[in-house]
Symmetry: none
Subunit: 422 residues, 2 copies
């Protein structure tokens, strides 16, 4: 037995992409945590016919719970409660107690603005106190109350502002009608494995091989190529743990050296941990600061990031990093020799014990036959004299090459700090 | 007459919110530009029954065009083409020519990985060469081809990686069957105006004033706060051009100094043009390379970007940029004095004629009562001795503050290079 849900996101600004929808993914996450299977997210504009069509669609698909977000405001384009009432075959009725509650909230809110006609505002907001007969009311966080309409499916109506929606969630889930709707939910486990240096099709081959594992079909596996890494997420019920462990044995046997995370950690987290107690500097050419920006995305990075030199021009490589111009003349700026000299320069310049240098051709111009666009040299150098260099040829366009370069650098850095050799 | 479309976004990673969907909003934007009305975006996981249900729903809603994204990869959870074929009542057939094309792409790609069994990979990818009978093929950008299945509705099947989808879009829209599906679209003009330094509510007031303009109600105006800039997008049919021009007269009269773009140009484009013939360096603390990375996003930036020093640690400010430690002791690292010294150091260090320095508190730690998190000092210095400093207090969290700081710096730079004074 399992429980399925659907999410209806309303709002023209979200449909047209002017505002990114934060509610769909957030509610999806909460439902998954609860063990409710999410079947569909649908997004539509503030049009009655489209909202109603989505409700009918989800009901026809047999979901047990529909969560709607948005359309609870006071203006004419806010119509979710009215449409849900019609969809559920219930009349709207004015809830006097709720109206008083909203009026009290508004009075406080309006006190901050001068020259507002309070009665006019309250009349506009009376609309928000109209609820379907027999529905449960969730207290407003802003001015809009949430509504639960019991039934099959049960409909949970939540406000659009993410802050209000998220604050209302605990009360929504505690509601009896919602609890009854999701009573048959399954508790899932979810495991994430991340790999680097592996083509997605290589993993596909391993997964085909895994089909012979007993219970394999009970594992819900999704794979995804992201920022140059392959991510494999598996959802399974507790009784399938043995199948999952056999799968992981196979994945480790085939791709062990490429698996860098089995507990959900990102490469950024792993590198941050490895850098604790160290002092790192970067020397960047084609990435032009993206690596140091990525390292300092982490709160607290100032404990181990000293700084960086972006040496975009060749003179800057020589003047600021102390790279011998003769090296650049002899080997070109994109070369092992220059990457090594840049890393050494960063160590010296910042008194660092760890340095990463990146020099490459991000394009669109600047490529040659020997060094086409996408050619990038990396060097990781440590104060003990360790220096490991590597060249890659990255696909894609300028932005891809620059971004992917930071990922390659993060992984190289991880391996060197772990004492692995490439 | 109007043309309606629906978008089906597939992918368990998107449904569950592990990956933010970039394709729905992007395709929505493109369809709106074309004058196609978007009715629904639906998102589902990699489950055949759910994908098919969404296709049926959109067809029942009478859309003329369905665009699907994702599910074209080589693994078993990629099944969009197969399901679309079934939905359209067409057999799948192996396209020999397409198979050869994909094999050639893979051969090149695989050359970068060692120890991969090429034949096995090719077999996995044969799946990608299976297309519905009578469908048109859109050449792969990665390894996955797009597919157009003519009919009512016409179904346009596009790959999930945004880079591939976006690169395939022009060919998709040029396709005859797609053109036939959207032939009744309304041709709109769309104009974008960008402002900086203006609250969205200030613009809202101007728009209320604009209601007296004759024909104003025929303008479809949306405003949006983005990256600290206010963007106003107006869609209108050609006969409303006079109303739009009157609106712009009013906007210029009210907010002239804040309007920086009326032709769609981004601040990045404007700054790139202004930097032509110059030589710029940045000195960054809290932004840690984000500004120089943003400047070098532009192809050809090597003509005017010399480099940058990220001086994250205070010693780096002193050692690498030559900031007098006494200044830091006296005024703190986040101060006008230090911002000015950093800019001067960048000019000197790189032999630049233009420098931007940023020093601030991105949080979460490090804030004080006098200088709370979000306090950022900027200085733009030119070789002629001009130096303009400014402090702002930015809202939001670490990532917001860092990103918003680069926007403030870009605008300050534009104004100084134009000879405007703040």
């Amino acid at each position: 037995m399992s429980v399925r849900a659907g999410i209806v996101v309303t709002g023209t600004e979200v449909l047209t992409g002017r505002v990114a929808d934060a509610n769909g993914p957030w509610v999806a996450d909460r439902l998954l945590e609860l063990g409710v299977e999410l079947a569909h997210i649908t997004i539509c504009g503030d049009r009655a016919a489209d909202i109603e069509a989505q409700l009918r669609f989800l009901a026809a698909e047999g979901v047990d719970l529909i969560v709607t977000t948005g359309g609870l405001g006071p203006t004419a384009d806010d119509m979710t409660v009215e449409i849900v009432a019609r969809f559920c075959g219930r009349e709207l009725t004015l809830d006097i107690e709720l109206e008083a509650k909203i009026a009290a909230i508004l009075k406080k809110l309006m006190a901050r603005f001068s020259g507002v006609d309070f009665d006019a505002v309250r009349a506009a907001n009376r609309k928000q106190a109209m609820v379907p007969v027999g529905a449960d009311i969730l207290d407003p966080v802003g001015t809009a109350p949430g509504v639960v309409v019991p039934g099959a499916p049960t409909v949970l109506v939540l406000p659009g502002p993410p802050r209000e929606l998220q604050a209302m969630w605990p009360a929504a889930i505690a509601n009896d009608a919602v609890q009854r709707a999701i009573v048959g939910r399954t508790i899932y486990r979810q495991a994430t494995v991340r790999m680097f240096g592996l083509a997605e099709s290589g993993l596909a081959e391993t997964l085909r091989e895994a089909e012979s594992i007993s219970g394999f079909t009970d594992l819900e596996i999704t794979t995804c190529l992201r920022r140059g890494e392959v991510e494999m997420v598996t959802r399974y019920e507790p009784h399938s743990v043995a199948a999952y462990e056999k799968l992981m044995d196979l994945v480790r046997a085939r791709h062990g050296d490429m698996v860098f995370s089995e507990d959900g950690s990102l490469i950024d987290d792993l590198v941050a941990r490895l850098l604790s107690g160290r002092r790192i500097a970067t020397a960047e050419s084609c990435t032009a600061g993206l690596l140091v920006a990525r390292l300092t995305d982490q709160p607290g990075a100032s404990a181990y990031v000293a700084g960086a030199v972006v040496a975009y021009a060749n003179e800057a490589k020589a003047d600021v990093l102390g790279v011998d111009s003769a090296l650049i003349d002899a080997h070109g700026a994109v070369s092992q020799e220059v990457a090594e000299a840049m890393a050494a320069g960063a160590l010296r310049r910042f008194g660092a014990d760890t340095a990463v240098a990146i020099t490459g051709i991000a394009g669109p111009g600047g490529g040659t036959e020997a060094k086409p666009v996408g050619t990038v040299w990396f060097c990781v150098a440590l104060a003990d004299g360790t220096a490991v260099s590597r060249a890659v040829r990255l696909p894609g366009e300028r932005a891809d090459i620059r971004e992917r370069s930071t990922t390659v650098a993060m992984h190289l850095l991880r391996r060197i700090l772990l004492g692995l050799r490439d």
